[in-house]
Amino acid sequence: MSVDQKREPVITARNVSIEYEVEPVVKAVRDVSLTLYRGEILGLCGESGCGKTTLAYGLNRLLRPPALMTGGEIVFHDKSGTDIDVRALDDQQMRAFRWDKVSMVFQGAMNSLNPVIKIRAQLFDVFTTHRPEMGNEEKEKRSRELLGLVGVDPDRIDSYAHELSGGMRQRVMIAMALALEPQLMIMDEPTTALDVVVQREIIREIMRLREIFGFAVVFITHDLPMLLEISDHVAVMLDGEIVERGTSEEIYTNAQHEYTRRLLSSFPSLTGERGGFVRGEEEVA
């Protein structure tokens, strides 16, 4: 199986605005529109507080008061051909939609496993909720299969979270997000807490799984060099707005927005010339 390369959208967000209803009101996401295509990796980058996580939560309707989506629409284009208006779903429908169509790997996912129950119970939980017809034997089989897929020894199903390394915990989280073969995975800083070697292994794993299952990914991070390296498209957010969008090549070689250029210049090149990074040449930050 290979990725469906046709430019077929999987989710479309139009003019989304999200506010935090506090005093004074914080406009976290302002009039953002974006389209994500099947099998595509979209890198969403920007600094803390720019609204990238809020936007991601909005796509999956995970916002909680005081956050409120004040405008715009989100349409999910299901594989079956039906379009789902995410904002119009009632609670029951939303529950069925989430994780089945769009799953999420959370920020600090290393710490999002429950520490007092085994990995097995946490994987089973997904099936119990979404695939009630599945028997225990089948769940066990599928759970082990999932662990194998993400490169964790299936026997670790009997482990507790603290018995796994950070990288392994992250892999388990990815396995969990994969469980129902979603069409879109939102990954919010999935590798920030890991060191570079493990980070690379995990990202490679994500790329490999994408080839197998053809899901689309929204990858959120502030590590622009990494995003450029792995994404098909990159969107740069600043103060709640997407200020620039393009393919990785376009952003890297021909950034238009001043902020994107500043972000790019914030990363010293590893092997290239020192460029602007002469030690002690202080800029006023």
């Binding site: 070697v197 972000l263 010293p268 030690r279």
Partner: protein, 291 residues
């Protein structure tokens, strides 16, 4: 103050911080085995030089920092300041702390939320009696804040940490570390918690202070790119051993050890746009062709 002038002399003559054959074993609770966190590490940090210590999580970087700061006791080996073994208690330890200070990774955790910024800088000044004669403590606090570009100092000093941004807080942490008149700084991932757009500003600030004060800096990081640009030497650690050590350009551009190569290959590099995707696809194509 006699102590102060002696320190002045030492600073001008430079001074060296030397780590000799350092070993640290951690006992594992409930088991009879030990974990060797650092294994026979030696290096010399000279005044005015920056050494970057790189390696993955668990490689022993922070244990070295903690040993230097005397937050853990080495199992074997010695640490020498200006050729003399460092004091482990009493007045000698206090003098050592005046010379060697640390900047921690998390500026959100290393400042006390209860106290204003000024207090954090005043404390080391008082403890180490580091205010020059003819200057009030307030003047010295303001001078230090200005030196780390926190201006106007009179505005910043009465604020509490939560009123500052991450970058500003880390500047406070740097000012605090400099307050005793330190000659050596251990900076453990000083910018990894900060937003990318302000990281370079903080690193550049550290670099300027280092030149102005002729500091010796041990820069602990896993970001190879900044390690290269901001230090004179790089030491690569892997499972407690220093596997490679040399001038920074040499280590990055011409790595010798396998692990250094792995580390370099893992660093994100926008020059390799799409390469991983293509590699993964090629693997699948090869596997399909075999079937």
């Amino acid at each position: 103050m006699a102590d102060d002038s002696a320190q002045q002399v030492r600073r001008e003559s430079g001074g060296v911080l030397e780590v000799r054959n350092l070993v640290k074993d951690y006992k594992v609770r409930g088991a009879h085995k030990k974990i060797r966190a650092i294994n026979d590490v030696s290096f010399t940090l000279e005044a005015g030089k920056t050494i970057a210590l790189v390696g993955e999580s668990g490689s022993g970087k922070s244990t070295i920092a903690k040993s230097i700061m005397q937050l853990v006791k080495p199992s074997e080996g010695q640490i020498l300041l200006d050729g003399k073994p460092i004091a482990r208690h009493g007045a000698g330890l206090r003098r050592y702390r005046k010379d060697v200070q640390m900047v921690f990774q998390d500026p959100f955790g290393s400042l006390n939320p209860f106290h204003p910024v000024g207090h954090h800088i005043e404390r080391p000044l008082r403890i180490h009696r580091a205010v020059p004669e003819g200057m009030t403590i307030e003047e010295k606090v303001h001078e230090l804040l200005e030196r780390v570009n926190l201006t106007p100092a009179a505005d910043i000093a009465p604020r509490r940490p939560h009123e500052l941004s991450g970058g500003q807080r880390q500047r406070v942490a740097i000012a605090r570390a400099l307050a005793p008149g330190s000659r050596f700084l251990v900076a453990d991932e000083p910018v990894s918690m900060l937003d990318v757009s302000i990281r370079l500003g903080v690193l550049n600030l550290l670099a300027r202070l280092q030149r102005q004060e002729n500091l010796g800096v041990l820069y602990i990081t896993h970001d190879l790119a900044t390690a290269r640009h901001f230090s004179d030497e790089i030491m690569v650690m892997y499972r407690g051993d220093v596997v490679e050590q040399g001038p920074s350009d040499e280590v990055i551009l011409n790595p010798q050890h396998e692990y250094t190569k792995t580390l370099l290959a893992a660093a994100p590099n926008p020059e390799r746009i799409g390469q991983m995707r293509d590699e993964v696809r090629a693997e699948f194509a090869a596997a399909a062709a075999k079937d």
